[in-house]
């Protein structure tokens, strides 16, 4: 189970604004989904290692080469915010 207060809290962490009716809806839906996860508590995993990747690859490295970025201008054009002196301008954060 999850409370409306917790839903508001995680929405804030995820930078998503929810209306009151959305909070209600997600609280009920997320509650059901989290209940469903309880199924996993039945599985014994005391001495089981975690799997976070399946390829078995380790420490893939490459040379740290300097290359020209051919996308510089188009990347700036992707921004919906104001462009000023070759940079994306955002509101002050400090």
């Amino acid at each position: 189970m999850i409370s409306e207060k917790e839903v508001r809290h995680i929405a804030k962490l995820a930078r998503i604004k929810l209306s009151d009716s959305e909070v209600k809806k997600f609280t009920s839906e997320l509650g059901d989904i989290l209940d469903f996860f309880q199924k996993l508590q039945k599985v014994k995993t005391d001495h089981v290692a975690e799997t976070s990747q399946v390829t078995g690859l380790e420490n893939i490295s490459r040379l740290d080469e300097v290359k020209m970025c051919e996308y510089e201008e188009v990347l700036l054009e992707c921004s919906p915010q104001q462009i000023e002196s070759h940079s994306i301008k955002v509101p002050k954060i400090m």
Binding site: E6, F26, V54, C78, I93
Partner: protein
């Protein structure tokens, strides 16, 4: 001659031998796009002008005897998460509605180099999160076999486009079943490759440890031809594995005689549609007839696949979706604070299912819940992978249903949890990183297509393509 009813392999042969031009082939498929897309909504962005241009270039290459691959001059479609410079890439989301990618995904670069002709970008559930395309911000894709039903998802646009003969083949992505389930719903062949077989670079991610890019086409042979072009190591995707790429088309010809295929008992649970069971039964008979030995096997942790997936995937989603900040690209609201920009842009641009998964993931990764949810799920994931590892020591491949039912009615899975259970038979394969294929094997009483799923060990694509190819040929001969 009805060109669009032919397979990619057949059309490629006709084109190569000079009996038909890429221009003629492409016009025939474009006519279907124009006629059928208004109803089906398989394409978010059709690209007819580009297709004509690319087809003409292929025709000149043929004249100059400079053909590049069996895909040269062949009309294909791309799921709209594959970045292309030629057309917008939306991920079927409002937040990317007008997004123009500055670069091409590696798979698109390879297809272009091989001479493929792009007819359009196909619909998907928003950011590939769903099993019906009902979560697309641009409307549902209808099933060509019954337009009151879904095409499946999330690669439903690609599978519907192939089924409706709008292209010879398409790319989709499969994170929990998103190629195999819609292929089963639409009566086409769809291959989920092993994790690390095909580059993900430039394909918009959902859950990075599970995402795969793979081919969808009429036949297993067509899928083999597409895979040949896109498979292999890519320096830009460090999770691709440097293993040799076999000659997939050549491998298809080998016989199945002496092969051992397991039938996992956990995949035959209560609630499976009797027509789906019948189709799998028929597949078993065909395999026996081809000299395959069938044995019952057990994958005891199968039932935990869905809960593990819906912890692991949303956790990775919540991290991946953080890039949509309203600042660097996509929809961006003008606000007085940076926080304000984030919240306003994300809230306006992202749909409900994506929000739901971001919230689940944020919760599962947050302090106090990490051990109970995320760590626990990663441990059970190990057990699911071990189930496959031990089983593949005894058998060459597995035969199972793709999904419990044929295509369902639009709106029939209104509860999120119900929708999550759609992928109950496909998710374990993604968690283990193995390969799987859905091959059409029959129809239900309501004339809806049914597929069978063949699962193989990691990097055994040539084996499951071969099994699917033999099933497909013999099923066809039966009808």
């Amino acid at each position: 001659m009805n060109l669009t009813s032919l397979s990619l392999a057949e059309l490629s042969e006709l084109f190569r031998s000079g009996k038909v031009t890429s221009h003629e082939i492409t016009e025939a498929f474009l006519k279907n796009v124009e006629k059928k897309n208004p109803v089906l909504n398989a394409f978010v962005t059709p690209t007819p002008d580009l297709a004509r241009e690319m087809a003409d270039a292929a025709d000149s290459r043929r004249k100059n005897k400079e053909l590049r691959s069996p895909l040269d001059g062949m009309p294909i479609a791309l799921k709209d998460v594959v970045c292309t410079r030629e057309a917008r890439t939306t991920a079927s989301s409002k937040i990317l509605e007008h997004f123009q990618s500055p670069y091409d995904a590696e798979v698109w670069q390879r297809l272009k180099k091989a001479g493929a002709v792009l007819v359009g970008k196909t619909n998907t559930d928003e950011f590939t999160m769903g099993a019906s395309t009902e979560h697309s911000a641009f409307g549902v894709t209808r099933n060509p076999h019954d337009t009151t039903r879904v095409a499946g998802g999330s690669s439903g646009g690609s599978t519907a486009a192939v089924a409706a003969e709008c292209c010879t083949g398409a790319l989709g992505t499969d994170t929990g079943g998103s190629i195999r389930q819609p292929s089963h719903f639409c009566g086409v062949t769809g291959l989920k490759v092993s994790y690390g077989r095909v580059s993900r670079w430039g394909t918009i991610p959902m859950a990075s440890s599970l995402d795969t890019v793979g081919p969808i086409a009429k036949t297993p042979e067509d899928c083999a031809l597409i895979l040949q072009v896109i498979a292999g190591k890519d320096k830009k995707d460090s999770t691709t594995v440097d293993k040799p790429v076999p000659d997939y088309q050549n491998e298809l010809k080998k016989s199945l005689s002496g092969m051992k295929i397991g039938v996992p008992k956990e995949y035959f649970i209560e609630g499976i549609d009797p027509d789906v069971l019948k189709a799998v039964q028929k597949t078993k008979e065909i395999l026996k007839h081809l000299g395959v030995k069938l044995v019952e096997v057990s994958l005891p942790h199968t039932e935990y696949g869905v809960p593990v997936y819906y912890i692991v995937a949303p956790s990775e989603i919540s991290a991946n979706m953080a890039r949509f900040d309203g600042i660097r690209f996509g929809l961006g609201k003008k606000e007085r604070t940076v926080e304000g920009i984030y919240e306003a842009s994300r809230s306006a641009g992202i749909g409900d299912e994506v929000k739901r998964r971001i919230l689940i993931g944020t919760y599962a990764l947050s302090a106090g819940y990490y051990d109970a949810f995320y760590r626990k799920a990663q441990k059970v994931r190990t057990l699911i992978k071990q189930d496959f590892d031990t089983t593949f020591e005894q058998v060459d491949a597995l035969l199972a249903p793709v999904s419990p039912t044929p295509a369902f009615k639009i709106g029939a899975r209104s509860n999120p949890l119900q929708m999550y259970l759609e992928d109950i038979f496909t998710i374990p394969g993604n968690l283990a990183g193995i390969c799987g294929i859905s091959v059409p094997v029959g129809f239900s009483k309501e004339k809806l297509p049914i597929g069978a799923q063949i699962l193989g060990p990691a990097f055994a694509e040539e084996r499951i393509l071969r099994i699917a190819h033999h099933i497909f040929q013999n099923i066809e001969n039966n009808i």
